[in-house]
């Protein structure tokens, strides 16, 4: 039995007087996709940024990709692929150059071939030499996925990755997440899109005001949420 991809015990985070996370305890397993759902402001992005080492919890214990945070954050960053609402690619460089920058920072072996492969897979090959600032919202989201997958991370941390994607982009995203988990990787998928949860996730956490309101098989959590919305 391998170590959990994420192990959180009593994670808490406050911004001034506002408690964004109030003691979250959960695990994410290798080979599985864990969805995190909840209303705007329920703490999903805050949680993802802590898992991604961009922010630090005020209390609780956390290990990500088998390394404890915040102590081993460099090792964690080598093992995670992160999608945030910004594509994190320099807007004045071409997509290929921006990906090359990230490949260099991650020490990716044979980066040119890897970049070509990913651009091809996400339908960006014809535009890979154009400046990123000329990309549409959906293309940026595809580019962000390429960037997150560049160094073949163990754990994907995705914040609303389907934002701006069209139907074919969404299908690519679903397929990518499932293939990643089938290879033994893990994913944490933050989304308000219950379709994505149904298509990709094995388990789901429902956050409400920084607390875990429900944690169970994805299908059950979705049913409860849809029922709750109807009631």
């Amino acid at each position: 039995m391998s170590a959990p991809a994420v192990s959180a015990r009593g994670l808490a985070k406050r911004f001034g007087p506002r408690e964004a996370l109030r003691g979250l305890t959960f695990d994410a397993e290798p080979g599985r996709c864990l969805a995190v759902v909840g209303h705007n402001g329920s703490g999903k992005t805050t949680l993802l940024r802590i898992l991604a080492t961009l922010s630090r919890a005020d209390a609780g214990e956390l290990s990500v990709a088998g390394r404890s945070l915040p102590k081993e954050s460099v090792a964690v960053r080598a093992r995670i692929g992160v999608v945030l609402d910004d594509a994190l690619l320099p807007s004045d460089l071409s997509l290929a150059e921006g990906l090359r920058m990230h490949a260099d920072l991650h020490g990716v072996p044979s980066p040119e071939a890897r970049i070509a492969e990913l651009c091809e897979r996400f339908g960006l090959a014809p535009r890979q030499d154009d400046p990123v600032r000329t990309f549409s919202r959906g293309m940026l989201q595809r580019a962000a996925l390429c960037r997150a997958l560049l160094h073949a991370p163990e754990l994907l941390l995705l914040d609303e990755p389907s934002n701006g994607l069209d139907a074919s982009g969404t299908a690519l995203l679903d397929a990518e997440i499932r293939a990643h988990c089938a290879r033994g990787g893990a994913a944490v998928l933050v989304t308000h899109d219950l379709e994505r949860v149904a298509a990709c996730a094995d388990r789901a956490l429902h956050l409400r005001s920084g607390r875990i309101d429900a944690d169970g098989p994805a299908a059950d959590v979705i049913r409860a949420l849809r029922g709750g919305a109807a009631a």
Partner: protein, 225 residues
């Protein structure tokens, strides 16, 4: 990745990006030129021939332009560059050193550009024996300003009005070192030998800021939203 490779990767890509858009250099050069021109109208240097005033004008220009450069080097939390680099599996200290050195390169280019303009506008000249002194003192000052600027910018970028705060914080911290540099530069422009003291003081400041950035950057760069 070793610290050294991480550092050189950061510098290389910072420079590559700047060469593409040239916005930091342009912003600094524009600031420096505007300040110099305005000062040249305000102060008739041909009559105000106190070399200390001229030295002060030159350093005011560099500090203002340097603050613009440092602020742009590490801007707002949602800045693509910043978060992109923060997600790289490199020690935060390597990021601090890399960004400090690239900022230093840009501020050095800016000051090299502004020296001839200054000399022409204020009808000043540097005795050739003093060139090495001026180069050493200005490089030391720019290095310290870059280190301090990158560190402060990473701390203040999440705060509303962070750029204003940056300048407010930067100036008093820099003051003692700059005072020495200005006095020395004034002596130099007046044909005297300024001696080693200003350079030694600046070196001490550089070591302090570089050490502080090395140690504090991990915390400073976190939780910028």
């Amino acid at each position: 990745m070793t610290g050294w490779r991480a550092f050189s990767t950061v510098v290389r890509w910072d420079v590559a990006r700047e060469m593409r858009r040239r916005s930091t250099l342009a912003a600094m050069a524009a600031t420096a030129l505007v300040v110099l021109f305005v000062l040249s109208f305000a102060v008739d240097a041909r009559r105000a021939d106190d070399p200390r005033i001229r030295a002060g004008l030159l350093w005011v220009t560099w500090i203002l332009a340097g603050a613009v450069g440092a602020e742009r080097a590490f801007r707002g939390g949602r800045d693509a560059m910043t978060d992109g680099f923060l997600l790289a599996p490199i020690p935060r200290a390597s990021l601090f050193w890399g960004r400090t050195v690239s900022t230093f390169l840009f501020t050095t280019a800016m000051s090299a550009l502004s020296i001839p303009v200054f000399l022409v506008l204020f009808d000043a000249s540097v005795p050739s024996a003093g060139l090495a002194w001026l180069a050493a003192v200005s490089l030391l000052a720019l290095l310290g300003m870059s280190a301090l600027g990158v560190l402060l910018a990473s701390m203040t970028s999440s705060v509303r009005g962070g750029d204003v705060l940056l300048r407010l914080l930067m100036l008093p911290v820099l003051l003692p070192a700059v005072a020495a540099a200005v006095t020395g530069t004034g002596q130099l422009l007046g044909g005297q030998d300024p001696g080693i003291r200003p350079a030694a003081l600046l070196l001490a400041f550089d070591l302090t800021f570089l050490g502080a950035g090395h140690l504090l950057f991990d915390h400073a760069a976190e939780d910028r939203t």
